[in-house]
Amino acid sequence: MRNPQLDAQGGLTHLLTLEGLPAAVITQILDTAVPFVSIGEREVKKVPLLRGKAVFNLFFENSTRTRTTFEIAAKRLSADVINLNIGASSTSKGETVLDTIDNLTAMDADIFVVRHSESGAPHLIAAHLNATGRRHVHVVNAGDGRHQHPTQGLLDLFTIRHYKRDFRNLSVAIVGDVLHSRVARSLIQGLATVGTPDIRVVAPKTLVPAEVGSLGVRVFNDMRAGIGGCDVVVMLRLQSERMRGALLPSVGEYFKHYGLTPEKLALAKPDAIVMHPGPMNRGVEIDSAVADGDRSVILPQVTFGIAVRMAVMSIIAGSQGSRA
């Protein structure tokens, strides 16, 4: 079956996952985001590309930060933005989601930005739109369950390329709760597609997903070995609810072994950059001296994230299915 996020010409029409997304499409998105960064530096931070289009932010799971960046991106493209926060109650699954979609397409939605606690929900919506002949309506996955967060993966790739120019000689270490992280999954797949030779996962044994071997990464349980000599350190947020399970002994213990301190960062290359998808837990996975230090590119990531989301929305809304 054809990749549901590509149209018959191989152009991007939905963004659902970085898994299987061709390198050429990833490069097209990153290249398109470059001029959008400079739009954000202008007096008038708007371009008219999506004038008259309606972007529905459909958040079945709450995330103020992600919703806000999509909202800013859509507004800078001159789209109308409608925010819908739909509580993910256990009853609103399956058909109910598709009924919601049918109602909103009847209100002339052009793009759905979907966040859902269930893995695969954006796929379900995109497949439904494709199957019912509404190819002019597009879906962007803004995070689904433990599965994917493709725009975060793309903005991470954009940030790495911005500072390091090329992926082909890089060592990238992804540190922390990889098991529960859709950000990590998207980033690992994206890095592999664009030809990053050395991708490392650094985590305690209890937070390494079983299928990690199939992703083509090296696994380290010792952080000092894991970030030694690397060019990029990506810290993941430790979600506090994981502490309540039996996966980790304590916050203090976690910080001692896996928290990024200036002393541990000194083991990476002298020009290594430090990234974090946010929101940060200072003193849990990252020391303030690193988070606020001169190697940190955590705030530029946020700025680039808007440009990357502008690029994604303007590419999909201009894809074949939307053309008159």
Binding site: G11, Q28, D31, T32, V34, P35, V37, S38, I39, R42, E43, V44, K46, V47, P48, L49, S314, I315, G318, S319, Q320, S322, R323, A324
Partner: protein
């Protein structure tokens, strides 16, 4: 029959001659990617008043996005001077329908309110679909609708013109 195209370098010389004495010494030159950007740089050095040079990629302002989607390889617009209050000479290689110029004017105004905007083009091939005319023209040509006039630049920086069949109607 391909049309007889003029020599691009000679046409550039003719355009520079027409601009001398007409263009304000403090005017900024803004080239539309890609051909217009090359011409803007050449004209700035030929006219020798130290004209500031900027660049526009009008991809985000085009009126054919609905039909053609987003152009690949959009470049970064770069106007590293204050547009507000400046006299701007927009520069493009070929003036045809006028739609690129319309897009460029719209984009320019998102940087600020210029004191005046003029337009200089290497080739005016007629066929306007909007009420837009150039202030300075290198050469006027009549060209069949199914042909595109394309400006190229070689490694040594020499400009040349070619006619190409349009891929789609």
């Amino acid at each position: 029959m391909p049309p007889m195209l003029p020599d691009a370098e000679a046409t550039l010389g003719a355009l520079a001659d027409r601009m001398r004495g007409g263009v304000a010494p403090d005017a900024a030159f803004v080239g539309i990617y890609s051909g217009g950007a090359w011409i803007a740089e050449r004209l700035a050095s030929m006219l020798g008043h130290g004209h500031r040079v900027g660049y526009l990629d009008v991809s985000f302002y085009r009126d054919d996005y609905e039909r053609a989607g987003l152009k690949a390889n959009a470049k970064r617009s770069a106007l590293d001077f204050d547009v507000a209050g400046s006299t701007i000479v927009l520069i493009d290689d070929v003036l045809y329908t006028g739609r690129s110029v319309r897009a460029a004017i719209n984009e320019l105004f998102d940087y600020g309110r210029p004191a005046a905007v003029e337009l200089a083009v290497l080739i005016d091939r007629g066929g306007r679909e909007l009420p837009i005319e150039a202030t300075y023209v290198g050469a006027r040509l009549a060209v069949a609708r199914n042909l595109d006039i394309v400006l190229a630049r070689d490694e040594g920086g020499r400009l040349s013109l070619a006619a190409e069949s349009r891929a789609t109607g």
